[in-house]
Amino acid sequence: MMNIWTISRKELKSYFASPIAYLLLAMYAVIFGFFFWNAVGYFVNISMQSTMMGRSFPMDVNEMIIRPLLMNTSVVGLFLIPLISMRLFAEEKRQGTIELLMTSPVRDMEVILGKWLAALILYACLLGISLLNMGFLFAYGKPDWRPMLVGYLGLILQAGGLLAVGTFISTTTRNQIIAGAVTFGACLLLWVFDWVAGYETATWATVMGYMSVVRHYEPFSKGVIDTKDAVYFLSLIFLGIFLTSRSLESLRWRA
């Protein structure tokens, strides 16, 4: 346990010692800020219209602002996650510091989990920015916080899965740009698989649809935890971590 945290701390320090963490935070603040004010503006517009037309049913903030925002956040995550995971192992290989990690009295699994955890914590910091925005909704309205909590849980699970896959991809090269690009491709595929299932009903299309990250995130955004979605994300996490440990093992043999 101590060893995992030792690795995580070092990883987080490296993120915040280089521009990458601040760049991500700034990019995220701008993008999410844009989505947020867009959604709020739209909501206000619709509310005004309905008031003017004499219909004054209460507008649902959860349904009209929070849910679309969570869906957007899920998609934005697909683009930012490769930037977080790409350096994890590729940079250690390039610098030769992998030799320090692999000859120190720590298990490979502790190194992997430490790095993965650090990446997840950085992603959680990004989500923190979106939470700041969401805070305004609570200041001016009365949204239900429970579905939102489930939505954020889903975002963390989604990031956990994709970061685990990204960590694995990062062990396969010493060039972090390549690792980032391949991870980006993988994230993109896991997103667009959903589109196929929209018009095709054959088995292969169903399977592709099942592999789609967005499809499994959608229920979370409504505040619904379905076991099959949770299982999907947890399997993605286990698969990524497992592949990473196998990859490190084979790295030792070939070195």
Binding site: M2, R9, K13, Q95, G96, T103, P105, R107, R252
Partner: protein, 323 residues
């Protein structure tokens, strides 16, 4: 302290280390001497549990590298060929990270970091970013990293490669000063480095060990400039051997074999002596027949020549770099 038996490492078809065996006793400083591509780094990577051997066994302090890697790693400090440094960290941060990684208790980390910084003379840069350090300082931070957890065994891969003469001198002194507390294996392709730093030497070439001895024995053998093969008939092997040993300038006579009364010997001469004429006269004067008298290349000498050739190349590189 270190025991290696029939160790082999193959990369695909290429055999990097071929059935090598050696032992290192506690407290020794052993020089692992060999030209580039000899298999030094590979052997060290196996000893440090970075990679498993293809076959054979290696153990450190009684723990097998395959069966108990964590125990082995706790007892080894390793400085790879390029020091494993994180450029974005400050020196003290880096050393504290490695200290925790090596399992030093929380309460002792900063004391231990201060101690090794002092020891390796990096205290004055401890608040500097590693990316801003000179090569000499990087090497010393690498050494500090290796001795942090006070390991029984230190494994140093070419610790002076790429340094300037002053830095080389300082690094060698530092390594010598570590000798009392640790068993040390250091690799190098420079013969004088072994002479100045080590007590024992293992010469490795093309994945095979070609010699292992104390530094004194080996250097005196290397300095014996010439070896001559002498084949004689007419007397018993011992008599001939006694007579040849008595020739002035002869350092050593080794009986190779005897077939049908033909005895062959390898005669090594002392430095700067040409003993061939004297040997011939002694054989003829004793009334025996001389069948063959020719210089032989000592296998050690061959290796030595190869080593000195690469050393000269390295020196030329160094000079080019400093201009």
């Amino acid at each position: 302290m270190i025991s290696v038996q029939n160790l082999t490492k193959r990369y695909d078809r290429n055999v990097a280390v071929n059935e090598i065996s050696f032992e290192v006793a506690k407290g020794q400083i052993v020089g692992f001497l060999g030209p580039n591509g000899a298999g030094k780094t590979t052997t060290m990577r196996i000893l440090t549990c970075f990679m498993p051997p293809t076959s054979g066994r290696a153990s450190v302090a009684g723990f097998d590298v395959l069966d108990q890697p964590l125990e082995v790693k706790r007892r080894i400090g390793y400085l790879p060929e390029t020091p494993p440094l994180y450029p974005e960290m400050e020196v003290h941060e880096y050393l504290a990270f490695v200290a925790r990684l090596k399992g030093i208790p929380h309460a002792d980390v900063s004391r231990r970091v201060a101690e090794v910084s002092e020891r390796c003379a990096v205290t004055d840069v401890s608040r500097k970013l590693i990316s801003k350090l000179s090569k000499g300082y990087r090497q010393r931070v690498g050494l500090a990293q290796a001795i942090l957890h006070n390991p029984d065994v230190l494994i140093l891969d070419e610790p002076t490669a790429g340094l300037d003469p002053k830095q080389i001198h300082e690094t060698r002194q530092l390594i010598r000063s570590l000798a009392g507390e640790h068993t040390i294996i250091l690799s190098t392709h420079i013969l004088p480095e072994v002479e100045q730093t080590c007590d024992h030497v293992i010469i490795i070439s093309k994945g095979k060990i070609v010699a292992q001895d104390t530094v004194e024995n080996l250097t005196s053998r290397l300095r014996g400039q010439e070896a001559v093969l002498v084949e004689v008939t007419g007397a018993g092997a011992d008599d001939i051997r006694g007579a040849l040993s008595g020739v002035p300038g002869v350092a050593r006579v080794v009986h190779r074999d005897s077939r049908n009364g033909l005895h062959s010997f390898e005669v090594e001469s002392a430095p700067g002596q040409n003993v061939r004429a004297l040997l011939a006269r002694r054989v003829v004067e004793s009334g025996w027949s001389l069948h063959e008298l020719r210089p032989v290349a000592m296998s050690l000498e061959e290796v030595f020549l190869e080593l000195t050739a690469s050393e000269k190349a390295a020196e030329a590189d160094g000079k080019g770099g400093r201009q």
